[in-house]
């Protein structure tokens, strides 16, 4: 290996490029920009304003922050549900007036003032919710109008009763404490906002109503079609927002002990800007309470800071307008282009130098020499099937295979001309195996490990394993369960080919070539799933050795077969037993003569092998070219290989015509015939094996003769 190539290998195999894409695909990265803005704002104004960080100054300025935060939390929830609430400005003012009038004019206790403020908020929220949720009016214009109505009503009230409030002598310690006092160094509004923030965060992310809100905001139509009561959910978001504004209004009333003509004026724009600047999406579905709070701090520090720095009338509006425009534009553009950015950076190829293979060229005289023998196979289900990745036969000689449409199809013996859908599982059923009780176990691509009973009941066995400690993306989920086999004790050994890509993107995984394939075991005794091995380049076929003391598994993109020991001195370890094959290894199954069949899903090419040594080229390729122009592994030619316990290659068969079985992903020997499947094929092949035991049934070999 040249020095240059060694540097390349270090650069691409040790630097975790893939982390960028994985981090970007996390939803919390949305918070990065607002958080940065928050830090800059606070640091900037904090250093420009003398005494900004003094405790008393913080306590006083955070009172207003607590009130604004309450309002913003309400607006955030409404926005998450796909709406918008501008009426908060006048709800806030009216609630403040309700509290003030109850306390000062009617001279009633403080808790009644709170009740009055909350009731006002509830009433207005309910009106908005009814109009927008149930009557389905447009949220923006409707709340704009209720804002004006509320404002007009408030102006009338203040003109008529404002003086009576000022002349009142009512007072109460509780009232003064809420307005002036601190608890554990924090003012009451801040405490209230914190508690409400935590409660609503938990409710939004961990409770059914919260999920409904997010679902409605994320896709109103889908939520409706899924049976969520969309209108009621929307209604409730406005009620919640009204209550939040009501509480904020009450706190405002205790702080100022009055309600003047300007109360709550422009609060709606302040709250809306805060919610959007924090990164909550317009139109719903994306956002969080934390974002709202960040936005509230940014907006309030900025507007108050400008006032304290002595800028004149209008500066606030100018800054708010700019903030709002920039935040909304960034939000919309980010939302639109995020997946493009992600696509651009997600594929992070690594370096690999493949070993020199023995040639498979016809006439080369090696054991891998390809021939045309598979081209004479009979076809089953020609044109009816799409994607029989694996095939299997039961004790009654019926033939089963999965299809691209998420079904398991059964062909009836003896001639396999009639078929039926045996079960609909969903996903893409790949590997198949029968257990002792004739349950069909399947690795379902994109879903997990499933069991289909003879009564056709579909049962999920496993969809996750333990998450690994260093994972960025949650790798507990099985993304691409591929093949399985079952030990005599009932444990199911199966592979999950890649953590980085969904099942249908397996070809992209080959270009990245990063080792993220796993071997796992499912224990039916306690229903647990454990990861046995990790870090292989696309683990694929699994097959129990004939003595059941070890198993073979294939590592496709390295063209290798490994043996994993279940018993004996090497128990729990794996060793590579066949390496540098000329084809990409796929499913492995037992043969009747004590050897093993293995499928090649495609053949290596010098060009793709070379590209594996040039990760930078593959990276450029995935970023600059359309997918149709990418260099992929060759899957137009495959084959079947037979090897024995000592890893000698006994036989190789192919279809050079490319007509019947260009790509082979599975083969299953049954009573003297070999049944051949291919994930991109439109048929199952049946091939008569010369000299094979015509009575051999894999079910007997695994589980003994039928009793």
């Amino acid at each position: 290996m040249s020095f240059r190539e060694r540097l390349l290998a270090w650069r691409y195999n040790l630097v975790p490029d893939h982390a960028i894409g994985e981090i970007l695909s996390k939803r919390w990265t949305d918070n990065a920009i607002p958080f940065l803005a928050l830090v800059i704002t606070v640091a900037g104004f904090g250093s420009a304003i003398p005494g900004f960080f003094k405790l008393y100054s913080l306590q006083e300025s955070t009172r207003q922050l607590g009130e604004l935060s309450l309002v913003v939390i309400g607006v955030t929830v409404v926005m998450l549900g796909g709406g918008i609430d501008l009426a908060v400005g006048s709800i806030f003012a009216l609630s403040a007036f309700a509290a003030v009038s109850v306390f000062f004019i009617f001279e009633l206790p403080t808790w009644l003032a709170l009740a009055a403020a909350l009731a006002t908020g509830f009433l207005f929220g309910a009106i908005n919710g009814y109009l927008i949720g149930f009557m389905r009016l447009r949220a923006f214009i409707t709340t704009l109008v209720t804002l004006i109505i509320g404002r007009a009503g408030y102006d009338i009230l203040v003109v008529n009763f404002g003086s009576r409030v000022q002349m009142s002598m009512a007072s109460s310690d509780l009232w003064d404490f809420i307005g002036d006092g601190t608890l554990w160094g924090m003012s009451v509004p801040v405490l209230t906002a914190l508690i409400l923030a935590i409660v609503s965060h938990v409710a939004l992310t961990r409770s059914r109503p919260g999920w409904h809100v997010q679902a409605v905001g994320g896709s109103r139509r889908s939520a409706h079609n899924a049976g969520i009561r969309v209108r009621q959910t929307v209604f409730l978001t406005y009620v919640f927002s009204g209550l939040c504004s009501g509480a904020a209004g009450f706190l405002f009333a205790t702080r100022l002990s009055g309600a003047g003509p300007g109360t709550g004026h422009g609060l709606e724009i302040l709250a809306l800007t805060a919610a959007v600047v924090g990164g909550n999406s317009l139109g719903g579905g994306r956002g969080s309470v934390a974002k709202g709070l960040m936005g509230a701090v940014i907006v309030l520090v900025m507007t108050n800071g400008l006032i304290r720095l002595g800028y004149g009338t209008g500066t606030n509006q100018m800054v708010l307008g700019m903030l709002l425009a920039v935040a909304v534009t960034v939000d919309i553009r980010w939302l639109k282009n995020r997946h493009k950015v992600l696509n651009e950076v997600y594929v992070a190829p690594v370096y690999l130098k493949m070993g020199e293979p023995l040639s498979a060229v016809p006439g080369s005289g090696t054991p891998y020499e390809l021939n045309n023998r598979l081209s004479v196979a009979d076809h089953i289900g020609l044109g009816e099937l799409e994607g029989p990745e694996d095939v299997i036969l039961d004790r009654d000689d019926h033939l089963y295979c999965g299809t691209r449409h998420g079904e398991i199809v059964r062909f009836f013996a003896p001639d396999y001309t009639r078929s039926e859908v045996f079960a609909h599982v969903g996903g893409f059923p790949l590997g198949l195996a029968f257990d002792r009780d004739q349950n069909l176990i399947s690795c379902v691509g994109a879903m997990g490990l499933y069991k289909i009973t003879p009564e056709r009941e579909v049962i999920r066995l496993s969809a996750e394993t333990r998450r690994s400690l260093t994972s960025i993306q949650d790798d507990a989920r099985l993304r691409d369960p591929n093949d399985l086999d079952i030990a005599p004790d009932g444990k199911i050994y199966f592979t999950d080919s890649t953590k980085r890509y969904d099942a249908h993107d397996w070809a992209v995984d080959s270009i990245e070539n990063r080792g993220t394939g796993r071997l796992l075991v499912y224990d039916p005794a306690d229903g647990s799933t454990r990861t046995l091995l990790d870090g292989y380049r696309y683990t694929n076929g699994v097959c129990m050795a004939h003595d059941n003391k070890s198993l073979f598994f294939a590592e496709s993109w390295r063209c290798r077969i490994h043996r994993y020991w279940l018993e004996g001195p090497k128990a729990g370890t794996a060793e590579c037993v066949i390496k540098d094959m000329p084809g990409y290894t796929d499913n492995i199954n037992r043969a009747s003569d004590g050897t093993y069949w293995m499928a090649w899903l495609g053949m290596r090419t010098p060009s793709f092998d070379l590209s594996l040594r040039h990760p930078a080229m593959r990276k450029r390729m995935t970023r600059r070219l359309p997918q149709d122009d990418w260099l992929f592994p060759n899957i137009n030619t495959g084959g079947v290989v037979k090897f024995d316990e000592n890893y000698n290659i006994i036989q190789t068969m192919g279809d050079l015509s490319g007509l019947s079985h260009p790509m082979v992903t599975s083969m299953r020997e049954h009573k003297g015939h070999l049944f051949i499947g291919g994930i991109l094929n439109n048929r199952i092949g049946r091939f008569r094996i010369e000299g094979a035991n015509p009575a051999w049934d894999a079910n007997d070999a695994y589980w003994g003769k039928r009793s």
Binding site: L144, T313, M322
Partner: protein, 328 residues
């Protein structure tokens, strides 16, 4: 049978309802309010809604194209304030007018660009730009809330101009109405506005230049706002920037929506603006004659606006299956 009744009900659309209501209020007021039908009062009614009507014409262009322009009042007040400030500062007429017009065009273009090319919802763009325009001009360019028209300026002459006892702004409103009517009805781009408002995606697929036209509409509404601002300054001899904080903006939306221009775009026209303006003008005048205080007038107006929106929602209901995601 039910379908037929329902069909008839639909036929009885908002514009006709409003027209009937307007006539009823007019008749009632004529009978019960002293001096309501006097010629000078009628002229006062029309005059009082002229500026509002002109603004509503600009707004209706935007709304028909499925947008909304909440920055109109800010543009109206602040552009004229800027213009007058420049004049008071000794700039020549030509330069001041050019700068003010340039400012108006810039705001219109910015609005249009963000809506059309950055795909930002119009309400947020114009809400933000309105706030920015007010804040920027108020804090950076002018010193006081109100800016007066310099003595001897042509605006003063315009403000006092009357033809056959009717103030000039009524004529300007009439002329602009006709121009907008002709534009919407008889020019290709006018018709395109309806197509783009009705179904933007389909309009784009048929090859209509949807995005440049969107920009054009926001420029037109900004220019209309500037014109309305000049007229306001002409009749009041000054422009008070506090008008931005008033309910004028909502009155504009009120005139457009109550006249029957659907907020979902694609329908309406100058006639709807006229009907809406008539109703508002008569109502305001009647309330003034009845000596109802301004704050109560606001309450009444906004309540009427709410009902207009509810009726709009009932006549043009949104469909759960076809409603646009994020269409707020």
């Amino acid at each position: 049978m039910a379908a037929k009744v329902f069909g008839d009900l639909r036929n009885f659309n908002q514009e006709r309802i409003v027209l009937v209501v307007t006539l009823l209020i007019f008749a009632t007021s004529s009978i019960f309010l002293p001096g309501f039908v006097a010629a000078d009062n009628l002229v006062a009614i029309v005059r009082s809604v002229s500026v509002l009507g002109i603004l509503a014409l600009g707004m209706s262009l935007v709304i028909i194209g499925r947008g909304i322009d909440l920055s109109m009042v800010a543009v109206m007040a602040m552009s004229v304030a800027l213009y007058l400030q420049l004049l008071n500062g000794g700039q020549s007429e030509g330069i001041a007018l050019a700068l003010a017009l340039g400012f108006v065009l810039a705001i219109g273009l910015l609005n249009g660009f963000l809506v059309a090319y950055a795909d930002v919802p119009a309400i947020f763009v114009t809400l933000a730009s309105g706030s920015f325009v007010f804040g920027y001009v108020r804090s950076q360019l002018i010193d006081t809330d109100a800016v007066t028209v310099p003595a001897g300026h042509w605006l003063l002459g315009l403000g006092g101009l009357r033809i056959a006892e009717v103030p000039i702004e009524v004529y300007i409103f009439a002329v602009l109405s006709v121009v907008v009517f002709l534009f919407l009805r008889f020019t290709k781009w006018g018709r395109y506005i309806f197509f783009a408002g009705d179904n933007p995606a389909a309009a784009r697929n048929t090859g209509i230049p949807v995005r440049p036209m969107l920009v054009l509409r926001y420029v037109l509404s900004a220019l209309t706002a500037f014109a309305a601002g000049l007229l306001t300054a002409a009749s009041l001899q000054s422009i008070n920037t506090r008008v931005v904080n008033s309910n004028l903006l909502y009155d504009i939306v009120l005139v457009a929506v109550i006249g029957g221009i659907g907020l979902s775009g694609g329908k309406g026209g100058v006639r709807n603006v006229l009907v809406g303006a008539a109703l508002i003008g008569i109502m305001l005048n009647a309330m003034t004659i009845l000596d109802i205080p301004l704050i109560y007038q606001n309450l009444i107006k906004s309540t009427i606006l709410l009902f207009a929106i509810i009726v709009d929602g009932l006549i043009n209901p949104r469909d759960e299956q076809t409603a646009q995601q994020g269409d707020i």
